[in-house]
């Protein structure tokens, strides 16, 4: 079934003002909110339930072995990647494939830098100190939430790489369709950024 037969694959619906893809990605993000919402709730549930003292007390400050500098750097990287992502869409919207592609590449590079810092300087550092997810509930939730977030980043990189490479074929067939897809990718990407905006303070600062 091709794009011509199904209505509103490219053009927005007159009442909702959305093309199908954008509507779909927003619904998907709603379910993502519930996924991360459940994990944030778990964090709150476990933290409130933790005793004041003893081996299962919640660690703060130095005890967490988390570096706010690295976390902060990663925050800046993700914010910057959100800007490059949205700029890529602007360029495609203005019919500039070459510039748009440059911004997409910049986004992918920043995303890879984020994951590299996360793995090389944060996870590896913890493993060297003998800290594993099983060490305490704090590290369990730290590794689970940041790990799941990192998987989302990697997923996003795969999609962006597809649109830089083979996916760009669509640009020559249907520019609007391609630009729409970049917009949907962007929505997902900003959402991943948004999750990190909450993860950073609750894990590194509080």
């Amino acid at each position: 079934m091709s794009a011509e037969v199904l209505p509103y694959t490219v053009k927005p619906h007159p009442v909702t003002g959305l093309y199908n893809g954008k509507f779909g990605i927003w619904l998907f993000l709603a379910s993502e909110v519930m996924l991360f919402g459940a994990l944030f709730s778990t964090y709150i549930f476990l933290r409130i339930g933790a005793p004041e003292t003893g081996p299962t007390a919640w660690p703060t400050g130095e005890q967490t072995h988390l570096s706010w500098k690295l976390g902060g750097l990663n925050t800046l990287i993700l914010i910057l990647s959100s800007v490059t992502m949205v700029m890529a869409w602007v360029q495609f919207k203005m019919d500039n494939l070459a510039k748009g592609r440059m911004y997409l590449i910049a986004t992918a590079v920043l995303a890879i830098a984020f994951v590299a810092i996360k793995l090389k300087f944060e996870y590896m550092h913890k493993f060297h100190l003998g800290i594993k997810p099983s060490t305490s509930v704090f590290f369990a939730i730290y590794f689970t939430m940041t790990g799941l977030h990192a998987l989302h980043i990697i997923g996003g990189v795969v999609v962006i790489a597809y649109f830089i490479g083979p996916g760009a074929k669509l640009w020559h067939e249907n520019r609007e369709y391609y630009t729409n897809r970049i917009e949907c990718t962007g929505l997902y990407w900003h959402f991943v950024d948004l999750v990190w905006i909450f993860l950073f303070p609750i894990l590194y600062l509080l």
Binding site: F28, M34, P133, T144
Partner: protein, 576 residues
Amino acid sequence: MSGDHHHEPSFIRKYVFSVDHKVIGIQYGVTALCFLFLGFCLIMMMRWQLAYPGETMPIIGNLFGEAAMPGGVMLPEFYNSLGAMHGTIMIFLGVVPLLVGAFGNYVMPLQIGAPDMAFPKLNMLSYWSYFLGGVVMLASFFVPGGAANSGWTSYPPLSDIATTGQTWWLFGMVCLITSSLLGSVNFIVTIVQLRVEGLTMFRLPFFVWAQLITSFLLLLAFPPLEAAGVLQLMDRLAGTSFFLPEGLVVSGVVQTQISGGGSPILWQHLFWFLAHPEVYVLILPAMGMVAEIISINTRKPLWGYRAMIYSTIFLGFMSFIVWAHHMFMTGMGTKISAFFATTTMIISIPSVVILTAMVISLYQGAIRFTVPMLFALAFLPMFAIGGLTGLPLGLPASDIHLHDTYYVIGHFHYVVAPGTIFAIFAGIYHWFPKITGRTLNKTLGYIHFAFSFIFINIIFMPMFWQGMAGVSRRLYDQTVYAHGDAVQSLTVISSWGAWMLGLAQIPFIINFFISIKAGKKVSDNPWEATTLEWSAPSPPPHGNFATVPVVYRGPYEYSVPGASSDYIPQHITTEA
């Protein structure tokens, strides 16, 4: 579509990796019916152990090997696996895929006049993700220790320390959650964006509304279970303690290798946050199908159509704030218990509104007692019994006595088995002519209905007495307790009911396969119905409608005063 004839898709593209919503609907339907049958076989085996504990199972007892049934006698561990997998298969692989994947996929786009779903490839992916989940679940029977055996609810700490089957169960669930996520996004976008001209939201058949709300429930309720599944996987594979408290004792030994600090109650919250909306996922599409069938076979508009829709929306919303009524026994405190008891009482109101509207729809109707109508009519009292017996469970004071007894089993099975599964049968008999162009045999249909109705009540009615006598669910052998032994005769009755129900399905199975090839050929609109799917050819071709229909009226214009015919289809402009 005539221009497409020169490149006819290959067999694989057409029937295996098809993107056509009708083929995917049939794939879902056939797979899910197989799983439904399998889930039923599991329980028929368990019913032997329950009725005649410790006795050799006749005929098939020796087929399962020494690890599961030495000498034809079921081991407790195998019994637990069967129990957990019966629940999982019936709910996640049988009923929901039938209601949403099969009927939703096949009928909904036709009812809104769409050529296909909004995202045909996602639709295909959704089916194959479901299929993979099913394969993982089946494969788990063959891993060391057998399939998951911590119940379909997988409560920790037991599930955290259970055999490998539990890990497979979790991976299988992740596949199934992905499938329903893709499906629900697709359904919502399709219903909102792809309706044909003139088909406003309040001209949609009630079935489409039910699918819309159901999709929202699937979309928003499943992710917390996915999160919980990830946490449990971490507990099982990475040794974390999300659900394990400090100083946990297993078989008299304090577990020192775990860090502790987690809580088993956390799982219950996350699990029931999914599983209560899931109950409405199981019932809303069934109500949708019953409503369609009732309106067509009474030749009357649905009574209170708008009230039913508003009730459904309210029901969907409320279903997210009742989950802890499954957890009154965890010591949440009186204030929280009172809150959830109150919301539970409130949520029963919209269900009653919908049910009442359907009953009133019958009043003064010229009822046609067709086979689908009989199943639909049976749905009404059966669902009512299921719903009303739920009220004592929603009140903490009475729940303390009834919690985790056979009363609970009887309650939710009345909702899901003679309720939802009867609605599914009604749907099969009703839409079979649209899917195949042929009708199922009536006589076999009547036989199927009559015996199913009798035996399904013989199974579940005794459970209420058993439960009130204090018999706990999931017992391997209730006769070891004096209070259980006293009501063992009820278990035997129940078991015989189950096996007889199995036999009662034979006429249906024969009917189903013979009618595909040799059933009586019928017109495109054999029930004289008004909704759009009946204006398409039977079976509808790729792309569904020859010309895109335009809608001029509401979905249930039957017996309109002054009209020449007793029904006016939605796409007809003026009365001819």
